[in-house]
Symmetry: C2
Subunit: 349 residues, 2 copies
Amino acid sequence: MIIENISHSRIDKIDFNDISFGNHYSDHMFYCKFENGKWKNPIIKPFGDITVSPLSLVFHYGQAIFEGMKAYKDKYGNVFLFRPLENFNRLNSSAKRLEMPLISKSLFRDGLKKLLSIDKKWIPNNYGQSLYIRPFLIASDGKLSANPSKKYIFMIICTTASNYYLTPLKVKIEQKYSRSADGGIGFTKAAGNYASSFYPTRIAQEEGYDQILWTDSSTHSFIEESGTMNVFFYIKNNLITAPANKKILNGITRKSIITIAKKEGIKVKECNFSVSELIYNLRKNLVKEIFGCGTAVVVNHFKKIGYKFKNYYLPNISNKKRISFFLKKNLLDIQHNVINDPFGWRFKV
Amino acid sequence: MIIENISHSRIDKIDFNDISFGNHYSDHMFYCKFENGKWKNPIIKPFGDITVSPLSLVFHYGQAIFEGMKAYKDKYGNVFLFRPLENFNRLNSSAKRLEMPLISKSLFRDGLKKLLSIDKKWIPNNYGQSLYIRPFLIASDGKLSANPSKKYIFMIICTTASNYYLTPLKVKIEQKYSRSADGGIGFTKAAGNYASSFYPTRIAQEEGYDQILWTDSSTHSFIEESGTMNVFFYIKNNLITAPANKKILNGITRKSIITIAKKEGIKVKECNFSVSELIYNLRKNLVKEIFGCGTAVVVNHFKKIGYKFKNYYLPNISNKKRISFFLKKNLLDIQHNVINDPFGWRFKV
């Protein structure tokens, strides 16, 4: 692997006590091309612009996928990734569905490890902060006929991360627009899954909400996921979440939350959960908590649910009494090497 | 508008008797940036690579839309566009749904006209050939949080075009995968709509078909569109096609075919058309023709339909007797200024 070091780091400009998600990008990036059926010439170089053909299929037919992962430090400065194999596997499962070339484990691992070792000082020391890592794969050539590209670029870029949302969320149950369809690509991290959400989300924001709670495209009667989060409902001592099917992202935070909850003796139900059942329970004040989770978001609870021009408010309880807070702390404690890792999720870099 | 001319044209390398779709790109391209809420500094420059940030939202969240249009020559060398206002309007309707900035009519028109005047010699003289024009709009910056970009690039590139398909098509009725959902972006020309079709299409190709006939994602019982084409069925003297709804592209060729057919006294039905009705009619040998149409494809008839591991063959009739051939010729005659244009579709450049 070729390494091109920057001449002067930008890190002195960062105040780690004042970072927000995605505002500071680390000094270097990993870059590798796929041509003639092979990944070749991996390189780590200064973070900066790339040059591509205007024919690149990512521009015309959306062949683009990504992953989101994080690197954490413990109080001794050791660096850990969280379940990186899960990201690796999901990236390749997205690649397969989008007819893109698979990434080898060694390319993914070596690129990631080398980049993190070079930009190690960009990983914040503070508990709850991290370096968000964005591996992504784009089609870089084509000829305007609607067929898969023969050339691709695989890159990894990094940004300092703190809280994605700063407050509890107001969320609207969507009854018109939809995120994905049966037989579609909702389960992948394809770029094309996201832009379609911007317009419905802006409408929701103009109505006073932060995010949308997506429902199935056929009937809008079953709950799917929200924004960039999987969603959990805590009702009558049951933690309920939609099954990770072909329409719903199989979130790594989602499955970690489920595992931690089960270990702690919390009853978890992965099942189709209807909007009417949710509204019934909200009306009866039986919903203790609703929260979203994801790599970028970690865990963020909801405070208001909007449905058909009516708002339902979640109980205003202290963080100490929140199951979402308990699960989030448990997760962060594992990620930051504060407690034992009974599941083997931490990966020391 | 700034014009940067190439030093030496590549056109001498083209044999216009031997062009296939998307293999030769014209000398120049139109390029314009959107920053601080405004489109600025439009430029025509040599066709070539562009430089963008790795954060460009088109790579991560799929904010990318396009149009497909064609320029034709008549036998006197006059240049015509076909219904360009339709492309302009649809580009902006896609932009609106994807939360991208609208393009002004003057920017679209002036960029297009200037580019075509500079690259006029790239428009083939031959009847049935054309210069395929690809306007496209991509998000060129971002910060990895899932929100619309603030910067965009609008470009126009051109490629010589002859037949997109060389033969009649074998098409499989899809029963597992889907193209779009109610409440989704199927009606837009968003890049993200296309990559998801590559994998199911490859499977269909391995089974001996050329393309997929998409059905609704909820039940797979109603016909939508095929590949990059809208689809028509000619059954018992009725020309049947699915309505251009929120899931189906409102094709300009589609609506032109409908208008021409109606003028010629052919009965046209825009209605939900079920797979079972199609299969019933195929079994009874009542389906005279099935054909797809689109800007790139023009009109291309189908010869075989696959459904649940069974194949149905369309009648093998001569082109002279085909309604698809009649409609295609009528359309091309208007486009190439061979006959009168009663609809006002030709736009002289």
